[in-house]
């Protein structure tokens, strides 16, 4: 199917409900209010953004920075970007929207000064082991399948997941 035009936009308290809708139509688990509060509080459009098409919100990605080990070590490769949620409305899938959302975060991680200062070395995320579509999706973007984390999920089956990584 043909790629559609998209624009990016920030997530605020006033449009937060749209994020809930995107997540509920795309993800098997529901996220607590605390998650949404943190996304808004982060106020970081580079890591938390909507994808708009013709004025409608059709997708969203939410990431956070994860610092490894002691906070003092700033050597390159010690911090990661963790993708918490990625979702696109079902009717708009297959049009490169999800890819472009992830790619924008990858580009940010590689080119931005802030990321260089923080020493962002890789992007990681968790994927349920039976979610083959998602695994293929990320592999197309040069993510590698890493180790299995058993019983990561509490309420869905299978409860295990893979860690997917992309070194920058």
């Amino acid at each position: 199917m043909k790629e559609i035009e998209i624009d990016f936009g920030g997530i605020t308290n006033d449009n937060l409900e749209q994020l809930r809708i995107i997540n509920s139509t795309s993800l098997p688990v529901s996220y607590p209010d605390g998650f949404y509060k943190d996304v808004v509080a982060a106020k970081d459009e580079s890591l938390n953004k909507f994808a708009y098409h013709n004025g409608f919100v059709i997708g969203a990605i939410c990431c956070r920075i994860q610092k490894d080990g002691d906070a003092s070590s700033n050597s390159s490769g010690s911090s990661k970007i963790y993708i918490m949620t990625l979702g696109v409305l079902p009717s708009y899938r297959g049009r490169n929207v999800g890819t472009r959302l992830v790619q924008s975060v990858i580009d940010y991680a590689i080119t931005s000064e802030d990321c260089k200062k923080m020493g962002i070395g890789e992007i990681i995320l968790h994927v349920q082991i039976n979610n083959h579509d998602a695994i293929k999706f990320y592999e197309r973007l040069d993510f590698e399948r890493g180790e299995v984390v058993e019983n990561y999920y509490k309420r869905i089956d299978p409860p295990d997941c893979y860690i997917l990584r992309k070194k920058l």
């Binding site: 199917m1 043909k2 559609i4 035009e5 308290n13 006033d14 449009n15 409900e17 749209q18 809708i21 995107i22 139509t25 098409h53 013709n54 004025g55 409608f56 919100v57 059709i58 409305l89 009717s91 708009y92 049009r95």
Partner: protein, 764 residues
């Protein structure tokens, strides 16, 4: 106010004392103009101009000189001296003093039409197109009038039309006229200005609906706008549902009633075209006859358009089916919830509608419009506290939200709130809300004092005269009229049922005399006031800490009498009479004005005034060729119940009886014959409004006109394929039908039809 004679004399005196001040001359001329002495006003301006020295700034090209010249010109035009006005305009242009060239061109074109100089008019309107007015429909109307060589009063009336009404949608044109205009528009204007939406739409108005060319152009127009994603496309296309006016076969009105829409050829064609587009988009994501792959939003807007078309036809189930498809595909679209909410409301469930709208509101908390719509639906669902919470999300943070709503003159909220309180029988608060609207209008009326000195100094005289005339007419404006009608209805209700107020429902008044009742009410009021005072003091103690941080401590007008007790205590009938009087004076062309005047007059035992009101209402009714059921009801009521006061002068009695009979149409007709005549009229006109059918039916039963079977058939015979088949009218109709003993399958069938259309209503 408006002591025009006095004003002019005073200004004359001032001018004689200080003739060197320009403002004195202008004020004097203004006085003469508004008083009606048009020639005098022009003379004063001429004399002023002759006192100026050569090289004075008031003779050179600047805003003030230009405005004065155009003002003088507008006075000449007002007196109908078109030739003089046109010559004056040309002279001004030669002297090169005009700054507002747009107005100059418009006035010039208008005069040329009046003088039948059609070629010159065409050139003038063309110049307006060249300057960029290609989407100004009044300019297009002028252009078309010039081409068709239509001048005089008809052209004057056509040029007054507002919005997107252009000549072909106002006047019934002959085929020859349409062809002339079509050639002009397609071959000249469309070529010169290919992007103008107005030109496209006018061409669509000129084409024959049955022709392939029309279908193709409409399809192309729809497809372009679906790609762009225009939510109002349905409303835009509805401008094509033109029907001939019942009272004037030469003019059109736009079909509003679902029955008129459904039977209109344009509606049917458009629905078919849209169905075809949807099939094609669902099948292979392209428009019919096109290869370009469309994004999902195009299909979304196509479904949305189909939904709005079903809304026009009052087919709410189908409409909701399509909007649900939209929401399924794109649950993040705020516009979608607005349409669905409106459909749910129309289908009979206001609470579901409010919930739906609230979902939309949550998606974009910065969108004030959707917040206001949610508030409106909450008020219509009698949930005024929640409504206020929603309004408070957008009011200024420092002050009390109710106070802010009053300061911002949010009249739509006040009207809905008042209606809500009225339904809940909280009449004090209801009156208070309606009276707030009146207070706003008084403020708007007072505002004109601010304009006087400023406008005369800045020489914005055309605008100032328009404002003065507009201020005179505000008491007939829709918002005020709604408030006045609400107040009248409330006071009359209180007059009829003085104890039906939710605040005094503990004491039984019916067994007391009037004096005892008054005393008991006063005691109840005192107790209530004491309780309220206690609550207020407690609130004050709580607010004592906050009071320090509040910067605005002034007590506003609105805080006085929060429960409207003072308003409740006024004499009900006198207040109703006062407001009815305002309506009669300022809104004499509204039917409701006279119905209210009737209602007030019969309670005041003023039979002649009541009769006069009915005559005025009948006159309006005859002009529009539609008998409204509320008028019919009152004519019957009058004949049955209203009597002249005893001891009236015999001449009065004679006139009264004569005119009373004349109300029925002729002096020899009986009430029985009147009802029979309307029964036959309704039979002969299958589209007769449901409301009127119900009233005629009630009258038939009451006066034993024909059989009860005939009465019930009158309501049932055309099902809901009649005008005015609103939910309320269906409920009334079913009530009447159930009271007729010969209830049969057809009544059940009618009920089923109503329940199918208003499928979410719990009242059927």
């Amino acid at each position: 106010m408006r002591d025009l004679e006095g004003f002019t004399q005073t200004q004359h005196l001032i001018l004689e004392l200080k003739p060197n001040l320009k403002v004195n001359w202008l004020a004097f001329a203004l006085g003469k103009h508004v008083k009606g002495d048009l020639k005098g006003a022009v003379d004063i301006i001429d004399i002023f101009l002759s006192t100026l020295e050569e090289g004075s700034t008031d003779l050179q090209k600047n805003y003030e000189t230009s405005e004065l010249a155009l003002y003088k010109n507008s006075i000449i035009a007002e007196s109908g001296r078109w030739n003089e006005a046109l010559d004056h305009l040309i002279e001004c242009q030669k002297k090169d003093i005009i700054v507002d060239y747009f107005s100059w061109l418009k006035m010039c074109g208008f005069y040329q039409l009046q003088l039948d100089s059609f070629d010159e008019a065409k050139t003038t309107f063309n110049k307006l197109f060249e300057r960029g007015s290609t989407d100004d429909y009044s300019v297009h109307t002028g252009y078309m009038l010039a081409i068709l060589k239509i001048g005089g009063d008809l052209s004057k009336r056509m040029m007054k039309a507002k919005g997107a009404r252009a000549l072909p949608s106002l006047l019934v044109l002959t085929d020859a006229q349409k062809t002339t205009l079509k050639d002009e528009y397609k071959n000249q204007l469309l070529v010169q200005y290919p992007k103008s939406a107005a030109i496209m739409r006018i061409i669509m108005m000129l084409l024959d609906i049955e022709s392939k060319e029309w279908t193709d152009k409409i399809q192309s127009y729809i497809q372009t706008n679906l790609k762009r994603g225009v939510p109002s496309l349905g409303d835009d296309l509805s401008a094509l549902f033109l029907c001939c006016c019942p009272d004037n076969g030469n003019e059109y009105y736009i079909a509003q009633d679902p029955v008129d829409v459904k039977s209109h050829k344009a509606f049917r064609s458009i629905s078919n075209i849209v169905d075809g587009i949807i099939d094609s988009l669902e099948g292979n994501s392209t428009f019919p006859n096109d290869d370009e792959i469309q994004p999902p939003s195009t299909l979304l807007w196509a479904w949305f358009l189909r939904s709005t078309l079903y809304e026009f036809a009052a087919e709410y189930r189908e409409a909701v089916h399509f909007i649900d498809k939209c929401i399924d595909q794109t649950p993040t679209g705020v516009d979608l919830y607005e349409l669905k909410g409106r459909l749910l409301k129309k289908a009979g469930d206001i609470h579901a509608a409010a919930e739906c709208l609230d979902k939309g509101r949550e998606l974009d908390k910065q969108d004030r419009y959707i917040n206001n719509m949610t508030t409106k639906y909450l008020l219509q669902g009698d949930r005024e506290e929640e409504a206020l919470e929603k309004m408070a999300l957008f009011t200024r943070h420092e002050s009390d939200p109710e106070q802010n709503i009053f300061d911002m003159q949010v009249t739509w909220y006040e009207l809905e709130l008042a209606a809500c309180y009225g339904r809940k029988k909280m009449f004090g608060k209801c009156l208070r809300s309606y009276v707030s609207v009146e207070k706003h209008f008084e403020d708007i009326h007072e505002d004109q004092f601010d304009f006087h000195a400023y406008c005369i100094r800045k020489v914005t005289l055309r605008a100032y005269v328009d404002v003065l005339r507009w201020e005179d007419s505000i008491w007939g404006q829709d918002t005020y009229v709604r408030a006045a009608e609400g107040i009248i209805k409330t006071y009359l209700h209180l007059h009829d049922e003085p104890t039906k107020n939710s605040e005094d429902n503990e004491i039984d008044y019916s067994s007391m005399t009037a004096a005892e009742r008054k005393r008991a009410k006063a005691i109840a009021r005192k107790i209530k006031l004491k309780n309220e005072k206690k609550v207020l003091e407690e609130a004050k103690r709580r607010d004592a800490d906050d009071a320090k941080t509040k910067s605005e401590s002034k007590k506003s007008v609105k805080d006085e009498d929060p429960d409207g007790l003072e308003l409740l205590n006024k004499c009900h009938l006198d207040e109703a009479k006062k407001y009815a009087g305002t309506l009669v004076k300022n809104a004499p062309n509204h039917l409701n004005t006279w119905l209210c005047q009737y209602d007030v007059s019969i309670r005041r035992d003023k039979a002649l005034m009541a009769l006069r009101a009915l005559f005025q209402a009948s006159h309006l009714s005859n002009q529009s060729k539609v008998m409204h059921h509320e008028l019919f009801k009152r004519i019957i009521d009058f004949h049955e119940n209203v009597k002249l006061a005893e001891g009236s002068h015999p001449a009065v009695v004679e006139v009264f009886n004569f005119e009373k009979a004349a109300l029925l149409g002729s002096s020899s007709k009986s009430l029985h014959e009147f009802v029979l005549e309307w029964y036959e009229h309704a039979k002969a006109n299958p589209l007769t409004a449901l409301g009127l059918r119900v009233e005629i039916s009630k009258a038939m039963l009451r006066y034993k006109v024909r059989s009860p079977m005939d009465a019930s058939n009158l309501i049932i015979e055309n099902g809901l394929n009649v005008r005015d088949a609103t939910l309320n009218n269906c409920v009334e109709a079913l009530k009447v039908l159930k009271s007729i003993e010969e209830s049969d399958d057809r009544v059940t069938e009618f009920a089923a039809l109503a329940r199918n259309m208003y499928y979410l209503s719990s009242n059927l």
